[in-house]
């Protein structure tokens, strides 16, 4: 089953009235040759007229402005997605020692994906990870990236709450822990410092019970909002790596948006007026859309509500961390 019906609800509860809430939503799954977004609908509560546009990276952004006073703000994104087989790293390919000759060209052609970014600065600790991956890999570029992903998976602890939504790789390097957002950032940092273009992928991981032949316990953290990275392998193209899961990209990885790091692609980002604390809950549910024999199966992944500190300022911001 690789056709999913997805319902992603994000709800903000305020302990006082807020107003003039302006939000950008990045929840529409990518539609390209590896994934088809068959339908998408965004509704808001309170009701609002939603407009949309495509940004410079090709992501769809929906914009909703809600002016009247409210204490609860809910976004419901409903989509149907068909996921195709993702390309795996091809055996062989470019040798790591040949990469240096290509570095200047890659830097010019893919600047945004190679340069350090706000959440992913170049740090000496990342070069150490790079060194150990380089020593243990088979000498190919693809092998190096896989070894990096494995090293991060082995040496960092997946721990919910260890980091927060605005943590950079600096924090996870100190803590040796983090969530999928941090794991993805670590991988980006290491391969970029080595000269390879890499981009942050915001998306979903369909839980084991809904996915094809996967085990339930593989769904880490019990939350379906997920992040990983795609790396540009010269000669082959963009290939995904999931350092959180430690497994290859499968049919249960659904891509929603590309960015330099999390900062480019928060699922919901907004500003509002009013002096009220906020709490946020995210709930993602999957249901395989009609399977080949015409039957529907149901499976749900429900998220734990996450508390976040209120920011009593004139124009507070709203954000949710990717797990």
């Amino acid at each position: 089953m690789n056709r999913y019906h997805l319902l992603h609800a994000t709800e903000f509860l305020y302990d006082g009235p807020v107003y003039e809430s302006y939000n950008e939503v990045r929840l529409r799954p990518i539609h390209d040759d590896r994934q088809s977004c068959l339908s998408f609908r965004l509704t808001t509560l309170p009701n609002s007229r939603v407009s949309s546009y495509k940004d410079g990276y090709g992501n769809w952004i929906h914009v909703s402005n809600i002016l009247p006073h409210h204490r609860r703000l809910r976004f419901e994104a409903e989509s149907v997605v068909l996921v195709h087989e993702a390309p795996a790293p091809e055996p062989g390919g470019m040798q790591l020692r040949d990469l240096d000759a290509k570095r200047a060209d890659l830097y010019e052609e893919h600047f945004d994906w190679v340069a350090p970014s706000a959440y992913v600065p170049y740090l000496p600790e990342l070069a150490e990870i790079s060194k150990s991956a380089e020593d243990s890999c088979d000498g190919t570029v693809a092998g190096f990236v896989q070894a990096t992903s494995d090293t991060i998976h082995r040496n960092f602890v997946y721990m919910k709450g260890a980091t927060h939504v605005h943590s950079s790789v600096r924090d996870s390097l100190t803590l040796r822990a983090g969530v999928c957002q941090d794991f993805a950032h670590l991988l980006l940092g290491v391969v970029r410092m080595r000269g390879l273009p890499a981009r942050y992928v915001s998306g979903y991981l369909v839980s084991g019970s809904a996915g094809p032949g996967a085990k339930q316990e593989e769904v880490i953290g019990g939350q379906a909002s997920h992040a990983w990275a795609e790396v540009f392998l010269p000669g082959q193209g963009w290939v995904g790596f999931d350092p959180t899961l430690g497994n290859p990209i499968e049919l249960r990885h659904i891509r929603v948006a590309y960015g330099r790091d999390y900062g480019d692609v928060p699922p919901v980002r907004g500003v509002y007026k009013g002096r009220a604390g906020q709490s946020l809950s995210v709930d993602v549910r999957f249901r395989p859309a009609l399977d080949d024999s015409g039957h529907e199966q149901f499976a749900e992944t429900s998220a734990e509500p996450e508390e976040s500190e209120g920011h009593p300022q004139e124009r507070p911001q709203q954000h949710s961390q990717q797990q």
Binding site: E20, Y22, D55, V63, F111, A115, R269
Partner: protein, 488 residues
């Protein structure tokens, strides 16, 4: 002309190009008539006119604010009564050069936020564009009204004493300020020296507000007849607030702050006592960073949330266009002659100052070994902030800059010091005329077809003896700039 008496007695031109006197000490032909008039004046008479002019500025509240002294002081912009005069032939050359430059910069902005052909053709390193702090990815693929980015440009020119030629020193295509001083200086000058304007055919500058307002009206998405235009200011604490209120009043448009506007759906409205009024065009004097907290810096209190959504939907026009900062980045400056050649197939009319890019290793080593001879500038700054003047800097200051350059080379460029030309200016302490260095900032308006430049522009003058820094924020003053209809 003998300089043995009156105002100019004892004046010597010195080693720099003197705008008024040729190297032999004779007045240049376009200054002859003025010198004849002023030369006969007693210092006391001149002093009287000077006080009249100062009073006129004070009474009209023509001020600016200096940030760096920690007091946020509002000051009078010092005005020097000796005008800077340009004969028609020199102005025609400048005008042709600026026109070419504005059109090329506009084409560059269309391209980098569109197809990026110039990057694909490798005429400019794409890393240089993408690493520019003011390159706005939010503007990519966005179609802007009439394809105009550079509605208002202020391009700084200097005359190099060693060649006598004009060079472009920097482009200002974000929210250049200073035009209000051009208009006010002329007004005060006609009061202080009414008779001088009978004797010279000075080209007028007063049509600037009506020309700007014509372009703004033209941008209205609902058509010119139904166009509500506003000027968006950061507020009274901004250094150019005087200019914002002055221009709004001159153009007969509303002066608003971010909190006066609201976006509903994808339409911008102005809050008035009669209810919400739809806004069509915003002449914004708020920086990109602060324009829309949803799109740019989320901690901005100055902007209008949702504004970029309305802009993207084509319901409101903005001048200047967001993202222009990539075109006046001081490292991109080094490539402007390339841009002119690439887009227009022409050679640049005006020359550029030799520029070293600190993120190129060969340039960097040259810069680091020659710091005491160079001027170093931070690429994204303007107004004379973040700058090192090598020859006049203390050793410690140079070393501090060396550290900054090495830790962030992309952020700095260096240029040789240009020996700026001088214009005689009144030194009120010594009660005599002395040569002071000047630059020239003409203001260019672009409607997508034609570049209009009010003749002259703002001549800024470094009033401290020997100083080469003319920025008002760094203690500079200004002069009225005359472009003559003929040669003298």
């Amino acid at each position: 002309m003998c300089l043995d008496r009156g105002l100019f007695s004892g004046y010597t031109a010195g080693p720099f190009y003197d705008e008024m006197f040729s190297s032999q000490g004779a007045a240049r032909s376009h200054y002859a008539r003025l010198l004849e008039k002023l030369g006969g004046m007693a210092p006391s008479q001149f002093e009287e006119r000077r006080k009249l002019a100062d009073l006129s500025f004070l009474l009209q509240g023509i001020t600016f604010t200096v940030y760096s002294d920690g007091r946020g002081t509002e000051r009078l912009f010092p005005f020097d009564l000796i005008p800077r005069i340009l004969p028609q032939s020199e102005w025609a050359h400048i005008e042709a050069g600026l026109t070419q430059r504005v059109v090329a910069l506009n084409l560059f902005l269309q391209d980098v936020y569109g197809k990026q052909q110039i990057l694909k053709d490798r005429k400019i390193p794409s890393s240089l564009v993408y690493s520019c702090r003011h390159f706005r990815r939010e503007m990519m693929g966005l179609e802007v009204p009439h394809g105009i980015y550079t509605h208002v440009c202020g391009i700084d020119l200097v005359r190099d004493s060693s060649t006598g030629e004009f060079y472009v020193l920097e482009d200002n295509v974000r929210t250049p300020s200073g035009i209000s001083y051009v208009l006010e200086n002329r007004l005060v000058m006609t009061r202080a020296f009414p008779e001088a304007f009978h004797e010279h055919e000075v080209l007028p500058v007063a049509h600037y507000p009506s020309e700007l307002s014509r372009i703004l009206r033209m941008l209205s998405p609902r058509g010119e007849s139904e166009s509500q235009i506003v000027l968006l200011t950061p507020g009274i604490h901004n250094s150019a607030y005087f200019e914002h209120s002055f221009l709004a009043q001159q153009m007969g448009i509303e002066l608003v702050e971010g909190s006066d506007l609201i976006v509903d759906g994808v339409v911008v409205y102005m809050k008035t006592i009669y209810g919400l009024k739809r806004v069509d065009v915003i002449y914004r004097r708020v920086d990109d960073d602060f324009l829309d907290p949803l799109c740019f810096r989320s901690d901005s209190m100055l902007g209008v949330p949702g504004l970029m959504g309305a802009y993207r939907a084509g319901n409101v026009a903005l001048a200047n266009t967001p993202g222009n900062g990539v075109a006046d980045d001081k490292a991109i400056y080094a490539f402007v002659p390339t841009l002119i050649k690439y887009y227009l197939g022409e050679d640049p009319v005006l020359r550029s100052v030799e520029t070293y890019l600190c993120d190129r290793s060969d340039h960097l080593s040259h810069v680091l070994t020659n710091l005491p001879k160079l001027v170093v500038k931070s690429v994204g700054e303007s107004g004379g902030y973040g700058m090192l003047m090598g020859p006049s800097a203390a050793r410690a200051e140079i070393e501090a800059f060396r550290e900054r350059i090495m830790s962030e080379p992309r952020n700095y460029i260096a240029q040789p010091i240009v020996p700026l030309s001088v214009v005689p200016s009144y030194d009120s302490a010594a009660q005599c005329m002395a040569g002071r260095h000047v630059d020239l900032r003409p203001y260019c308006l672009y409607d997508g077809q034609k570049v209009t430049i009010v003749p002259g522009g703002l001549t800024r003058v470094a009033l401290q003896p020997g100083s080469l820094v003319v920025n008002s924020s760094q203690g500079g003053g200004s002069k009225d700039t005359w472009v003559l209809r003929g040669e003298c």
